[in-house]
Amino acid sequence: MPKQEYTDKELVDMILQGGREQEKALYILQEQYINLHFIVVRRKYRIPDYDSMSVFNDALIALSDAISKKQYREGSLKSYFQTILKNKCLDYLRKRRRSTDEIKEDTSIIDEKPNPEEQLIWKEEQVGRSEEEEKKRQLLAEAMLKLSQKCRNILIDKYLHGLKPRQIAAKYEDIKNAATARSTLYECFKKLLKIIDDLMDSQAD
Protein backbone atom coordinates (compact mmCIF):
# COMPACT_ATOMS: atom_id res chain seq x y z
CA MET A 1 0.00 0.00 0.00
CA PRO A 2 1.24 3.50 -0.66
CA LYS A 3 2.81 5.20 2.34
CA GLN A 4 0.82 8.32 1.68
CA GLU A 5 -2.52 8.95 0.06
CA TYR A 6 -2.32 11.23 -2.95
CA THR A 7 -5.23 13.16 -4.34
CA ASP A 8 -6.24 12.81 -7.98
CA LYS A 9 -4.96 16.32 -8.62
CA GLU A 10 -1.55 15.60 -7.12
CA LEU A 11 -1.21 12.47 -9.22
CA VAL A 12 -2.28 14.28 -12.39
CA ASP A 13 0.26 17.05 -11.70
CA MET A 14 3.00 14.47 -11.17
CA ILE A 15 2.18 12.81 -14.51
CA LEU A 16 2.18 16.17 -16.26
CA GLN A 17 5.66 16.88 -14.89
CA GLY A 18 6.94 13.82 -16.77
CA GLY A 19 10.20 11.98 -16.05
CA ARG A 20 10.62 10.50 -12.61
CA GLU A 21 7.56 12.20 -11.20
CA GLN A 22 5.46 10.58 -13.90
CA GLU A 23 6.97 7.17 -13.12
CA LYS A 24 6.38 7.70 -9.42
CA ALA A 25 2.73 8.59 -10.05
CA LEU A 26 2.28 5.47 -12.15
CA TYR A 27 3.80 3.28 -9.43
CA ILE A 28 1.43 4.81 -6.88
CA LEU A 29 -1.55 4.28 -9.16
CA GLN A 30 -0.43 0.70 -9.82
CA GLU A 31 -0.47 0.00 -6.10
CA GLN A 32 -3.69 1.88 -5.44
CA TYR A 33 -5.61 0.18 -8.22
CA ILE A 34 -4.06 -3.29 -7.98
CA ASN A 35 -7.37 -4.73 -6.76
CA LEU A 36 -8.85 -3.87 -10.17
CA HIS A 37 -6.27 -6.21 -11.67
CA PHE A 38 -7.99 -9.03 -9.82
CA ILE A 39 -11.58 -7.86 -9.95
CA VAL A 40 -11.79 -6.51 -13.50
CA VAL A 41 -8.97 -8.08 -15.52
CA ARG A 42 -8.83 -11.54 -14.04
CA ARG A 43 -12.27 -12.14 -12.66
CA LYS A 44 -14.67 -10.17 -14.84
CA TYR A 45 -12.91 -10.55 -18.18
CA ARG A 46 -11.08 -13.79 -17.32
CA ILE A 47 -7.85 -12.67 -18.90
CA PRO A 48 -5.21 -15.34 -18.29
CA ASP A 49 -2.57 -14.74 -15.63
CA TYR A 50 0.29 -14.49 -18.10
CA ASP A 51 -1.32 -11.50 -19.87
CA SER A 52 -3.35 -9.92 -17.09
CA MET A 53 -0.60 -7.68 -15.70
CA SER A 54 0.33 -6.57 -19.21
CA VAL A 55 -3.26 -5.50 -19.93
CA PHE A 56 -3.45 -3.73 -16.57
CA ASN A 57 -0.19 -1.86 -17.22
CA ASP A 58 -1.30 -0.92 -20.75
CA ALA A 59 -4.32 0.72 -19.16
CA LEU A 60 -2.10 2.64 -16.70
CA ILE A 61 0.04 3.93 -19.55
CA ALA A 62 -3.06 4.86 -21.54
CA LEU A 63 -4.26 6.80 -18.50
CA SER A 64 -0.94 8.60 -18.34
CA ASP A 65 -1.17 9.39 -22.08
CA ALA A 66 -4.70 10.71 -21.68
CA ILE A 67 -3.56 12.98 -18.85
CA SER A 68 -0.50 14.19 -20.80
CA LYS A 69 -2.66 14.93 -23.84
CA LYS A 70 -5.17 16.75 -21.62
CA GLN A 71 -7.94 14.32 -22.61
CA TYR A 72 -8.68 13.74 -18.93
CA ARG A 73 -10.02 16.92 -17.41
CA GLU A 74 -12.15 16.25 -14.38
CA GLY A 75 -14.02 13.57 -12.46
CA SER A 76 -12.77 10.63 -10.51
CA LEU A 77 -9.44 9.37 -11.80
CA LYS A 78 -10.34 5.87 -10.68
CA SER A 79 -13.59 5.84 -12.69
CA TYR A 80 -11.72 7.15 -15.72
CA PHE A 81 -9.10 4.43 -15.26
CA GLN A 82 -11.79 1.76 -14.91
CA THR A 83 -13.22 2.76 -18.27
CA ILE A 84 -9.81 2.60 -19.90
CA LEU A 85 -9.15 -0.74 -18.24
CA LYS A 86 -12.44 -2.14 -19.49
CA ASN A 87 -11.60 -1.02 -23.03
CA LYS A 88 -8.15 -2.54 -22.80
CA CYS A 89 -9.63 -5.85 -21.63
CA LEU A 90 -12.13 -5.85 -24.50
CA ASP A 91 -9.38 -4.96 -26.98
CA TYR A 92 -7.33 -7.85 -25.70
CA LEU A 93 -10.20 -10.32 -25.96
CA ARG A 94 -11.13 -9.17 -29.47
CA LYS A 95 -7.53 -9.41 -30.59
CA ARG A 96 -7.27 -12.89 -29.15
CA ARG A 97 -10.53 -13.93 -30.77
CA ARG A 98 -9.22 -12.79 -34.14
CA SER A 99 -5.88 -14.48 -33.81
CA THR A 100 -7.13 -17.78 -32.39
CA ASP A 101 -10.33 -19.67 -32.07
CA GLU A 102 -9.74 -20.16 -28.37
CA ILE A 103 -12.72 -18.14 -27.16
CA LYS A 104 -15.82 -19.93 -28.18
CA GLU A 105 -17.97 -19.49 -25.15
CA ASP A 106 -19.52 -16.39 -23.68
CA THR A 107 -18.58 -14.06 -26.52
CA SER A 108 -21.25 -11.62 -25.35
CA ILE A 109 -18.70 -9.96 -23.11
CA ILE A 110 -16.39 -9.35 -26.07
CA ASP A 111 -19.19 -7.84 -28.12
CA GLU A 112 -19.91 -5.41 -25.30
CA LYS A 113 -19.97 -1.84 -26.62
CA PRO A 114 -18.88 1.17 -24.63
CA ASN A 115 -21.61 3.57 -23.61
CA PRO A 116 -21.57 7.10 -25.11
CA GLU A 117 -19.54 8.49 -22.23
CA GLU A 118 -17.02 5.68 -22.53
CA GLN A 119 -16.77 6.23 -26.26
CA LEU A 120 -15.00 9.48 -25.51
CA ILE A 121 -12.27 7.47 -23.89
CA TRP A 122 -12.55 4.53 -26.27
CA LYS A 123 -9.53 3.90 -28.41
CA GLU A 124 -9.62 1.37 -31.17
CA GLU A 125 -6.08 2.14 -32.26
CA GLN A 126 -4.71 -1.30 -31.52
CA VAL A 127 -7.64 -3.26 -32.79
CA GLY A 128 -7.38 -2.55 -36.49
CA ARG A 129 -3.60 -2.85 -36.70
CA SER A 130 -2.03 -5.48 -38.92
CA GLU A 131 0.75 -7.77 -37.78
CA GLU A 132 3.16 -5.93 -40.06
CA GLU A 133 2.23 -2.60 -38.51
CA GLU A 134 2.66 -4.08 -35.03
CA LYS A 135 6.17 -5.25 -35.95
CA LYS A 136 7.03 -1.82 -37.26
CA ARG A 137 5.83 -0.20 -34.05
CA GLN A 138 7.92 -2.62 -32.01
CA LEU A 139 10.93 -1.74 -34.11
CA LEU A 140 10.32 1.96 -33.60
CA ALA A 141 10.06 1.44 -29.84
CA GLU A 142 13.33 -0.51 -29.84
CA ALA A 143 15.04 2.22 -31.84
CA MET A 144 14.27 4.81 -29.19
CA LEU A 145 15.57 2.51 -26.45
CA LYS A 146 18.89 2.19 -28.28
CA LEU A 147 19.59 5.88 -27.80
CA SER A 148 21.65 7.08 -24.85
CA GLN A 149 19.67 7.84 -21.70
CA LYS A 150 20.47 11.53 -22.03
CA CYS A 151 19.20 11.74 -25.60
CA ARG A 152 16.08 9.82 -24.61
CA ASN A 153 15.33 12.17 -21.76
CA ILE A 154 15.83 15.28 -23.86
CA LEU A 155 13.68 14.00 -26.72
CA ILE A 156 10.95 12.93 -24.30
CA ASP A 157 11.02 16.36 -22.68
CA LYS A 158 10.70 18.06 -26.03
CA TYR A 159 8.26 15.80 -27.86
CA LEU A 160 6.16 14.30 -25.08
CA HIS A 161 6.20 17.00 -22.44
CA GLY A 162 6.43 19.94 -24.80
CA LEU A 163 9.44 21.61 -23.16
CA LYS A 164 10.99 24.48 -25.10
CA PRO A 165 14.80 24.62 -25.65
CA ARG A 166 15.04 27.30 -22.97
CA GLN A 167 13.31 25.03 -20.45
CA ILE A 168 15.50 22.10 -21.45
CA ALA A 169 18.60 24.23 -20.86
CA ALA A 170 17.28 25.12 -17.41
CA LYS A 171 16.63 21.48 -16.59
CA TYR A 172 19.98 19.97 -17.62
CA GLU A 173 23.19 21.16 -15.99
CA ASP A 174 25.41 20.40 -18.95
CA ILE A 175 23.23 22.32 -21.41
CA LYS A 176 24.22 25.92 -21.01
CA ASN A 177 21.66 27.76 -23.06
CA ALA A 178 18.75 27.45 -25.49
CA ALA A 179 21.09 27.35 -28.52
CA THR A 180 22.98 24.37 -27.08
CA ALA A 181 19.66 22.72 -26.27
CA ARG A 182 18.53 23.16 -29.88
CA SER A 183 21.71 21.65 -31.30
CA THR A 184 21.58 18.79 -28.78
CA LEU A 185 17.99 18.09 -29.79
CA TYR A 186 19.00 18.05 -33.42
CA GLU A 187 21.92 15.67 -32.80
CA CYS A 188 19.80 13.30 -30.75
CA PHE A 189 17.00 13.36 -33.31
CA LYS A 190 19.48 12.63 -36.10
CA LYS A 191 20.91 9.70 -34.12
CA LEU A 192 17.41 8.34 -33.71
CA LEU A 193 16.74 8.61 -37.45
CA LYS A 194 19.97 6.71 -38.09
CA ILE A 195 19.06 3.92 -35.64
CA ILE A 196 15.62 3.58 -37.24
CA ASP A 197 17.23 3.33 -40.69
CA ASP A 198 19.70 0.69 -39.50
CA LEU A 199 17.01 -1.38 -37.80
CA MET A 200 14.77 -1.23 -40.85
CA ASP A 201 17.66 -2.28 -43.08
CA SER A 202 18.53 -5.21 -40.83
CA GLN A 203 14.90 -6.27 -40.80
CA ALA A 204 14.70 -6.07 -44.58
CA ASP A 205 17.79 -8.33 -44.81
Partner: protein, 265 residues
Protein backbone atom coordinates in the same frame (compact mmCIF):
# COMPACT_ATOMS: atom_id res chain seq x y z
CA UNK B 1 15.79 7.08 -48.20
CA UNK B 2 18.89 7.32 -46.06
CA UNK B 3 19.51 10.36 -43.95
CA UNK B 4 21.67 12.66 -45.93
CA UNK B 5 23.53 15.86 -45.38
CA UNK B 6 20.56 17.94 -46.52
CA UNK B 7 18.94 17.21 -43.17
CA UNK B 8 20.72 19.96 -41.35
CA UNK B 9 19.64 21.68 -38.16
CA UNK B 10 17.76 24.36 -40.09
CA UNK B 11 15.63 21.81 -41.95
CA UNK B 12 15.11 19.82 -38.75
CA UNK B 13 13.77 22.89 -36.95
CA UNK B 14 11.64 23.87 -39.92
CA UNK B 15 9.99 20.44 -40.05
CA UNK B 16 9.59 20.56 -36.30
CA UNK B 17 7.78 23.87 -36.41
CA UNK B 18 5.55 22.58 -39.19
CA UNK B 19 4.65 19.41 -37.28
CA UNK B 20 4.10 21.35 -34.07
CA UNK B 21 1.67 23.65 -35.89
CA UNK B 22 3.89 26.65 -35.24
CA UNK B 23 4.37 27.51 -38.91
CA UNK B 24 1.74 29.92 -40.14
CA UNK B 25 0.61 32.04 -43.08
CA UNK B 26 2.70 32.29 -46.17
CA UNK B 27 5.59 30.31 -44.75
CA UNK B 28 3.28 27.34 -44.21
CA UNK B 29 1.76 27.60 -47.70
CA UNK B 30 5.21 27.70 -49.28
CA UNK B 31 6.38 24.76 -47.18
CA UNK B 32 3.32 22.67 -48.07
CA UNK B 33 3.86 23.40 -51.76
CA UNK B 34 7.48 22.33 -51.40
CA UNK B 35 6.37 19.02 -49.87
CA UNK B 36 4.28 18.37 -53.01
CA UNK B 37 7.16 18.97 -55.36
CA UNK B 38 10.29 18.02 -53.40
CA UNK B 39 10.38 14.24 -52.95
CA UNK B 40 13.35 14.37 -50.57
CA UNK B 41 11.62 16.90 -48.35
CA UNK B 42 8.43 14.80 -48.31
CA UNK B 43 10.46 11.75 -47.35
CA UNK B 44 12.29 13.66 -44.64
CA UNK B 45 8.96 14.84 -43.26
CA UNK B 46 7.67 11.25 -43.19
CA UNK B 47 10.81 10.09 -41.42
CA UNK B 48 10.51 12.85 -38.85
CA UNK B 49 6.95 11.78 -38.12
CA UNK B 50 8.20 8.22 -37.75
CA UNK B 51 10.93 9.34 -35.34
CA UNK B 52 8.35 11.19 -33.26
CA UNK B 53 6.29 8.02 -33.09
CA UNK B 54 9.45 6.15 -32.10
CA UNK B 55 9.94 8.54 -29.16
CA UNK B 56 6.37 7.96 -27.99
CA UNK B 57 6.47 4.19 -28.42
CA UNK B 58 9.93 3.91 -26.86
CA UNK B 59 8.84 5.85 -23.80
CA UNK B 60 5.72 3.72 -23.54
CA UNK B 61 7.78 0.52 -23.75
CA UNK B 62 10.25 1.80 -21.17
CA UNK B 63 7.41 2.64 -18.77
CA UNK B 64 5.65 -0.65 -19.39
CA UNK B 65 8.81 -2.67 -18.73
CA UNK B 66 9.25 -0.86 -15.42
CA UNK B 67 5.59 -1.27 -14.47
CA UNK B 68 5.70 -4.96 -15.37
CA UNK B 69 8.72 -5.57 -13.17
CA UNK B 70 7.11 -3.64 -10.34
CA UNK B 71 3.73 -5.30 -10.82
CA UNK B 72 5.27 -8.73 -10.53
CA UNK B 73 7.12 -7.58 -7.44
CA UNK B 74 3.85 -6.29 -5.99
CA UNK B 75 2.21 -9.67 -6.45
CA UNK B 76 5.29 -11.55 -5.26
CA UNK B 77 5.92 -9.46 -2.13
CA UNK B 78 2.97 -10.88 -0.29
CA UNK B 79 3.53 -11.41 3.41
CA UNK B 80 1.42 -14.53 2.99
CA UNK B 81 3.39 -16.88 0.79
CA UNK B 82 1.46 -17.78 -2.31
CA UNK B 83 2.19 -21.13 -3.77
CA UNK B 84 0.84 -22.41 -7.03
CA UNK B 85 -1.50 -25.32 -6.46
CA UNK B 86 -0.11 -28.54 -7.93
CA UNK B 87 -1.30 -29.24 -11.43
CA UNK B 88 -4.08 -31.80 -11.54
CA UNK B 89 -2.39 -33.94 -14.16
CA UNK B 90 0.75 -34.30 -12.01
CA UNK B 91 -1.40 -35.08 -9.00
CA UNK B 92 -3.29 -37.80 -10.85
CA UNK B 93 -0.08 -39.29 -12.16
CA UNK B 94 1.37 -39.32 -8.65
CA UNK B 95 -1.79 -40.96 -7.31
CA UNK B 96 -1.66 -43.66 -9.96
CA UNK B 97 1.96 -44.43 -9.11
CA UNK B 98 1.04 -44.64 -5.41
CA UNK B 99 -1.82 -47.01 -6.13
CA UNK B 100 0.41 -49.17 -8.27
CA UNK B 101 3.03 -49.32 -5.50
CA UNK B 102 0.34 -50.17 -2.94
CA UNK B 103 -0.94 -53.02 -5.09
CA UNK B 104 2.58 -54.36 -5.62
CA UNK B 105 3.25 -54.21 -1.88
CA UNK B 106 0.03 -56.12 -1.19
CA UNK B 107 0.92 -58.94 -3.55
CA UNK B 108 4.53 -59.17 -2.34
CA UNK B 109 3.92 -59.16 1.38
CA UNK B 110 0.49 -60.79 1.53
CA UNK B 111 -1.87 -60.96 4.50
CA UNK B 112 0.93 -60.66 7.08
CA UNK B 113 1.66 -57.16 5.89
CA UNK B 114 -1.98 -56.04 5.93
CA UNK B 115 -2.50 -57.55 9.38
CA UNK B 116 0.43 -55.50 10.70
CA UNK B 117 -0.86 -52.34 9.04
CA UNK B 118 -4.35 -52.66 10.48
CA UNK B 119 -3.00 -53.16 13.96
CA UNK B 120 -1.06 -49.87 13.78
CA UNK B 121 -2.79 -46.76 15.23
CA UNK B 122 -3.95 -44.37 12.47
CA UNK B 123 -1.28 -41.91 11.39
CA UNK B 124 -2.13 -38.22 12.03
CA UNK B 125 -1.25 -37.14 8.51
CA UNK B 126 -3.47 -39.88 7.10
CA UNK B 127 -6.27 -38.64 9.33
CA UNK B 128 -5.69 -35.12 8.10
CA UNK B 129 -5.96 -36.35 4.51
CA UNK B 130 -9.16 -38.17 5.38
CA UNK B 131 -10.90 -35.19 6.97
CA UNK B 132 -9.58 -32.16 5.10
CA UNK B 133 -12.06 -30.69 2.64
CA UNK B 134 -12.78 -27.43 0.79
CA UNK B 135 -15.01 -25.54 3.19
CA UNK B 136 -18.10 -24.10 1.62
CA UNK B 137 -20.57 -21.78 3.29
CA UNK B 138 -24.05 -23.24 3.38
CA UNK B 139 -25.75 -19.86 3.67
CA UNK B 140 -24.82 -16.29 2.90
CA UNK B 141 -24.53 -14.49 6.17
CA UNK B 142 -24.89 -10.92 4.96
CA UNK B 143 -28.42 -9.56 5.02
CA UNK B 144 -28.00 -6.87 2.42
CA UNK B 145 -25.93 -6.92 -0.75
CA UNK B 146 -22.76 -4.92 -0.20
CA UNK B 147 -21.18 -3.37 -3.29
CA UNK B 148 -18.20 -1.76 -1.58
CA UNK B 149 -14.74 -2.52 -2.99
CA UNK B 150 -13.95 -4.61 0.10
CA UNK B 151 -17.11 -6.69 -0.25
CA UNK B 152 -16.50 -7.25 -3.97
CA UNK B 153 -12.90 -8.25 -3.28
CA UNK B 154 -13.92 -10.66 -0.53
CA UNK B 155 -16.56 -12.12 -2.80
CA UNK B 156 -13.96 -12.50 -5.56
CA UNK B 157 -11.56 -14.17 -3.14
CA UNK B 158 -14.27 -16.58 -2.02
CA UNK B 159 -15.07 -17.44 -5.63
CA UNK B 160 -11.39 -18.10 -6.34
CA UNK B 161 -11.19 -20.23 -3.21
CA UNK B 162 -14.27 -22.22 -4.22
CA UNK B 163 -12.72 -22.84 -7.62
CA UNK B 164 -9.65 -23.99 -5.63
CA UNK B 165 -7.46 -21.22 -7.00
CA UNK B 166 -5.64 -20.15 -3.84
CA UNK B 167 -2.91 -18.41 -5.83
CA UNK B 168 -5.56 -15.87 -6.85
CA UNK B 169 -7.55 -15.90 -3.60
CA UNK B 170 -4.66 -15.32 -1.16
CA UNK B 171 -3.34 -11.99 -2.51
CA UNK B 172 -6.87 -10.57 -2.40
CA UNK B 173 -7.43 -11.78 1.15
CA UNK B 174 -4.07 -10.42 2.19
CA UNK B 175 -4.80 -7.05 0.61
CA UNK B 176 -8.09 -6.90 2.51
CA UNK B 177 -6.36 -7.69 5.80
CA UNK B 178 -4.44 -4.43 5.49
CA UNK B 179 -7.65 -2.47 6.05
CA UNK B 180 -9.51 -3.23 9.27
CA UNK B 181 -12.07 -4.37 10.17
CA UNK B 182 -11.22 -7.75 8.71
CA UNK B 183 -14.04 -10.21 8.09
CA UNK B 184 -13.84 -13.52 9.95
CA UNK B 185 -14.48 -15.25 6.63
CA UNK B 186 -11.24 -13.70 5.40
CA UNK B 187 -9.21 -15.32 8.21
CA UNK B 188 -10.95 -18.64 7.66
CA UNK B 189 -10.37 -18.69 3.89
CA UNK B 190 -6.77 -17.45 4.28
CA UNK B 191 -6.07 -20.21 6.78
CA UNK B 192 -7.65 -22.82 4.55
CA UNK B 193 -5.68 -21.73 1.52
CA UNK B 194 -2.48 -21.85 3.55
CA UNK B 195 -3.42 -25.27 4.89
CA UNK B 196 -4.02 -26.54 1.37
CA UNK B 197 -0.68 -24.98 0.41
CA UNK B 198 1.12 -27.06 3.08
CA UNK B 199 1.65 -24.20 5.53
CA UNK B 200 -0.20 -25.48 8.61
CA UNK B 201 1.64 -23.23 11.08
CA UNK B 202 0.73 -19.97 9.30
CA UNK B 203 -2.74 -21.36 8.68
CA UNK B 204 -3.29 -21.80 12.43
CA UNK B 205 -2.26 -18.21 13.08
CA UNK B 206 -4.97 -17.11 10.66
CA UNK B 207 -7.62 -19.30 12.32
CA UNK B 208 -6.60 -17.97 15.74
CA UNK B 209 -7.52 -14.46 14.63
CA UNK B 210 -11.20 -15.32 14.20
CA UNK B 211 -12.99 -13.78 17.20
CA UNK B 212 -15.00 -16.22 19.30
CA UNK B 213 -17.98 -13.90 18.90
CA UNK B 214 -18.18 -14.96 15.24
CA UNK B 215 -19.40 -18.33 16.51
CA UNK B 216 -19.87 -20.21 13.27
CA UNK B 217 -16.55 -19.14 11.69
CA UNK B 218 -14.80 -19.57 15.04
CA UNK B 219 -15.73 -23.25 15.36
CA UNK B 220 -14.94 -23.95 11.74
CA UNK B 221 -11.57 -22.33 12.48
CA UNK B 222 -11.12 -24.59 15.52
CA UNK B 223 -11.92 -27.66 13.45
CA UNK B 224 -9.34 -26.75 10.81
CA UNK B 225 -6.84 -25.81 13.54
CA UNK B 226 -7.09 -29.39 14.80
CA UNK B 227 -6.49 -30.65 11.27
CA UNK B 228 -3.50 -28.31 10.91
CA UNK B 229 -1.96 -29.87 14.04
CA UNK B 230 -2.59 -33.33 12.59
CA UNK B 231 -0.88 -32.33 9.36
CA UNK B 232 2.21 -31.63 11.45
CA UNK B 233 1.82 -34.99 13.18
CA UNK B 234 0.94 -33.38 16.52
CA UNK B 235 -1.81 -35.58 17.86
CA UNK B 236 -1.85 -34.23 21.43
CA UNK B 237 -2.44 -30.64 20.30
CA UNK B 238 -5.13 -31.74 17.87
CA UNK B 239 -6.83 -33.71 20.65
CA UNK B 240 -6.88 -30.68 22.95
CA UNK B 241 -8.56 -28.56 20.29
CA UNK B 242 -11.09 -31.26 19.47
CA UNK B 243 -11.97 -31.68 23.15
CA UNK B 244 -13.06 -28.05 23.25
CA UNK B 245 -15.97 -29.01 20.99
CA UNK B 246 -17.55 -31.05 23.83
CA UNK B 247 -19.96 -28.44 25.21
CA UNK B 248 -20.99 -26.83 21.93
CA UNK B 249 -23.41 -27.53 19.14
CA UNK B 250 -21.90 -26.99 15.72
CA UNK B 251 -22.06 -28.71 12.38
CA UNK B 252 -18.39 -29.75 12.73
CA UNK B 253 -19.03 -31.29 16.17
CA UNK B 254 -20.02 -34.70 14.84
CA UNK B 255 -16.83 -34.97 12.83
CA UNK B 256 -14.82 -33.59 15.76
CA UNK B 257 -16.22 -36.27 18.10
CA UNK B 258 -15.56 -38.98 15.52
CA UNK B 259 -11.98 -37.87 15.02
CA UNK B 260 -11.43 -37.52 18.75
CA UNK B 261 -12.57 -41.08 19.22
CA UNK B 262 -10.09 -42.33 16.63
CA UNK B 263 -7.26 -40.35 18.21
CA UNK B 264 -7.99 -41.70 21.67
CA UNK B 265 -7.91 -45.33 20.50
Amino acid sequence: MKNDDTFDQELYEKIDRYLDGEMEGEERTVFEKAIQTDVKLAQQLAKSKQARLSIELGRRKELKDKLTARGEELLRNSSIKVEEPPKQKNWLFFLMILMLLAMMAFFFFGPKFTQQTISQPPQPVALYEKYIDWYQRSTTLSNEPDSSDQAVMLDSAEQYYLSRDCSAALPLLQELQKTPPVASLNYLLSGLCLLHNDQPGVARSQFSRIPSTATDFYWHGQWYTALAWLKEGKTAEATTVLESFAPIRHKQKQKADELLKVLKQ
